[in-house]
Symmetry: C2
Subunit: 353 residues, 2 copies
C-alpha cells in the first residue's frame, strides 16, 4: 500500500498518482489537457507522464514562465487553444506548475464554457503550501495582483515533493515565507521547527502542517469576511512591494515569497508599535526570516512608490489601508488601520536590522 | 402599496424601485457603479436615475452597443475602470441594458476581485425573459458565443416593462422567440396566447409566465446536466446561424431572437422526421413563428458554413451534434443525435414555407 494523506481534495504522498488514475477512470473525460509553463514543460512534465498510463492521451498547452504572463492575454491564448482543440464541458484541465500556472489555469478552467473540471499539481513549494489551498484562482490586471478571478475548488490537488528538486534554490526558499507566516499566525512551535529543520526527510511533514493550518482557516471562512484575512499577514506591504518590482528590469525582480518575507518583518515591527507584540519576539521574527531571505535596499523613492500602491490593495475598504497584525505568535488581529508614518518607520527598522 | 411580484431574486412591477432602494439602504455599498451601453446610457439611464434618491452617487461605466462588443476586451476596459475608480469588494455593479450588458456585466462583477455584488436591470424583452433568469453570464470568444463565463446569481433582477418602449421594433420581437420557445417546451396554451395577444396590458403577465417557466427549469437543474438542456430548443442551429452572421456587414446581421426563431422552425421539422411531432403541429409552429419573424434566404454556402460552426457548439459532447427535439408541445427530449442530411432537409423545409 502506497502512503497517502489527504484533506478534502488535497492529497500528498506516494499514492497520489494512483489516486489520479482512479479519478480519470471514474470521470471518463472526453479530453484531457495539461497546462505547463515553459519551465515545467521541461522539468516536470516528463515525470508526470511517466506516472500515468499512456492511454490518457494528454494534450499539452503552454504559457511563458513568470508572473508577468499571469494576465488576461495568457488566458485568451489558452481559452482559444481549448476551443480550437474542441474542448467541451466534459474536458479536464490539469495545471502543472507553480502558483502562476495553477492560479491562471484554475481561472481559465472555471470560466471556460462556464466551468470545466480542473486538477492542480503544484510543483513549487509556494504553490503547495499556499496557492493550492482555498480555491482561489485568478490573474493580475497590469501591476495589480490577482484582481481578476473567482473562488472555485479543483477536483484534486496532488502534491509530490519530488518536484521540489526541480526548483532553483531561490524559488524553494520563496515558498518558505508562507510557511513561516502560518507559524506566525497559528503556531510558535511550527515557526521554530521551520527555523531548525532543513533535513529533506522532514519536508513532507512540514508542508503538510502548512496545508492543515491554511485549510483550517479557509474552511472556517470561505468568503473571506473574517478570519481568512489572517492569511494576509505580511501581504498588505508584500503585495505592494511585489507590484513595485514587477515592471522593473529582470535583475531587480522579486519573488512573491521574498516580498512577503519583507512584508512580515515590517508587519512585525508595526505589531510592536501598535499592538502588544514584544520587542524581543519582533526581533526573533525578523532575524528568523532573515536566515532565509537576503536583505534588500529600498530608496526613499521606492518607499513612496510602494505607499502609493497600497491604496489599490484589494483587501482595503473604501481606500483605507488595513493590516493584519499580531499580538503574539498565533494571536492575529485583522483590519488594523496604520498611519503612513508608522509604515515609514517600519522600513527604517528593516534597514537597520 | 405598489404592485410587486417576485421569484427568488427576480422582481417585476411598480414596486421594484422601492425594493432597489431598500437593498441599497441595507447593504451600504462603499461605491455603486452602473454599466450601460451607448444606447441605454441615453434611453434608459435618465429614467433609472429619476427613480432613485440622488444620494446614491452612481458612477457610470459604458461599453459600445452590440453583440460584437461582448468580448474580453470590453471586460478588460470595465475591470480597469473599476480598478482605477478604486472599486473594492464592497462595491456594487448595476447592469442596465440588454443581454449583452447583463451577461458581460455579470461576468465582470463575478470575477472582479473574485466577485462583487451585482444587480441586473434588463431593458430588452430578450434579457427579461431569458438572460436574466438562471445566473448565467459571460462573453463571446471570437465568433463563438458565451464561451467564457461563470454561473453566479445577481443580488437582484429588476424588471420594468416601461423600458420596452425604448426598444426598436425588431429588438422587441427578438425577445418573443424565447417566449415562444417556453411555450414549445412547456405549455401549448402559452404558445397560443403569445400568438393571439398583442395588447400591451398583457405584457407583464406574458413576461412573468416566461420567467416562471424558465425559473422552474433552471432551479431543477442548476448545473445543466439534465432538464436545463430543454432551454436549448432551437439554439443548436440558432447559435450557429447567429455566429455565421456575426462577422458580416451590418445589413446582414441577425438578432439572437431571429436566429433562434429560425432554429426552432428547423428543430420542429427535425422533430417530425426523427421523433413523434405531428406534421400538423410542425406547420402550426412554423407558421406561428413566421407571424413575427421575416423569412431569411440561406445560400448553399451559408448552410455549409453553419453546419461547420455546429461542431463548436458548447452543448455538444466529443464533437457530436446533439439537439433538443419535441414529441409534442411540452414534451421535449434532450441529446438527440441528428444526421447532417436531416439538417439540410430542414433548411429545405424552411425555404419552402
Amino acid at each position: 500500500m502506497q502512503e497517502i494523506r489527504y484533506l478534502d481534495s488535497v492529497y500528498a504522498g506516494e499514492g497520489i498518482w494512483q489516486r489520479l488514475n482512479e479519478h480519470l477512470e471514474l470521470k471518463k473525460y472526453g479530453s484531457i489537457f495539461i497546462l505547463t509553463d515553459s519551465n515545467t514543460a521541461v522539468h516536470c512534465l516528463p515525470y508526470l507522464t511517466s506516472k500515468l498510463p499512456k492511454k490518457w492521451n494528454l494534450r499539452q498547452l503552454q504559457i511563458k514562465a513568470g508572473e508577468s504572463y499571469k494576465n488576461i492575454e495568457s488566458c485568451l491564448q489558452i481559452w482559444e487553444e481549448l476551443s480550437s482543440n474542441l474542448a467541451d464541458r466534459h474536458s479536464l484541465l490539469i495545471n502543472l506548475g507553480g502558483g502562476v500556472v495553477t492560479d491562471l489555469g484554475g481561472f481559465v478552467a472555471s470560466t471556460f464554457k462556464r466551468g470545466i473540471d480542473f486538477i492542480n499539481i503544484p510543483t513549487s513549494l509556494l504553490a503547495m503550501v499556499d496557492a493550492s489551498i482555498g480555491g482561489k484562482n485568478g490573474v493580475d490586471l497590469g501591476v495589480l495582483k490577482n484582481q481578476i478571478g473567482v473562488i472555485n475548488e479543483p477536483e484534486l490537488v496532488l502534491m509530490d515533493i519530488k518536484f521540489l528538486d526541480t526548483l532553483p534554490p531561490a524559488h524553494k526558499v520563496s515558498g518558505l515565507a508562507e510557511m513561516l507566516k502560518h507559524g506566525l499566525i497559528a503556531s510558535e512551535s511550527y515557526f521554530n521547527r521551520l527555523l531548525r529543520s532543513h533535513d529533506s526527510s522532514m519536508w513532507l511533514d512540514l508542508i503538510w502542517e502548512s496545508v492543515e493550518i491554511k485549510h483550517k482557516i479557509v474552511t472556517e471562512d470561505r468568503s473571506e469576511e473574517g478570519s481568512r484575512k489572517f492569511l494576509n499577514f505580511g501581504h498588505t506591504l508584500g503585495h505592494a512591494i511585489e507590484s513595485h518590482y514587477l515592471d522593473k528590469a529582470d535583475g531587480e525582480a522579486i519573488l512573491h515569497g521574498e516580498a512577503v518575507a519583507i512584508g512580515m518583518i515590517l508587519a512585525a515591527y508595526i505589531s510592536t508599535r501598535m499592538r502588544s507584540l514584544s520587542e524581543e519576539k519582533r526581533d526573533t521574527i525578523a532575524n528568523g526570516i532573515l536566515e532565509f531571505f537576503d536583505k534588500r535596499r529600498f530608496s526613499e523613492k521606492d518607499i513612496e512608490a510602494i505607499l502609493g500602491l497600497l491604496i489599490y490593495d484589494k483587501k482595503n475598504r473604501g481606500g483605507k489601508i488595513l493590516f493584519v497584525l499580531i499580538n503574539d505568535f498565533g494571536k492575529p488581529i485583522w483590519d488594523c488601520e496604520v498611519p503612513d508614518a508608522v509604515i515609514r518607520a517600519a522600513f527604517n527598522y528593516y534597514k537597520n536590522l
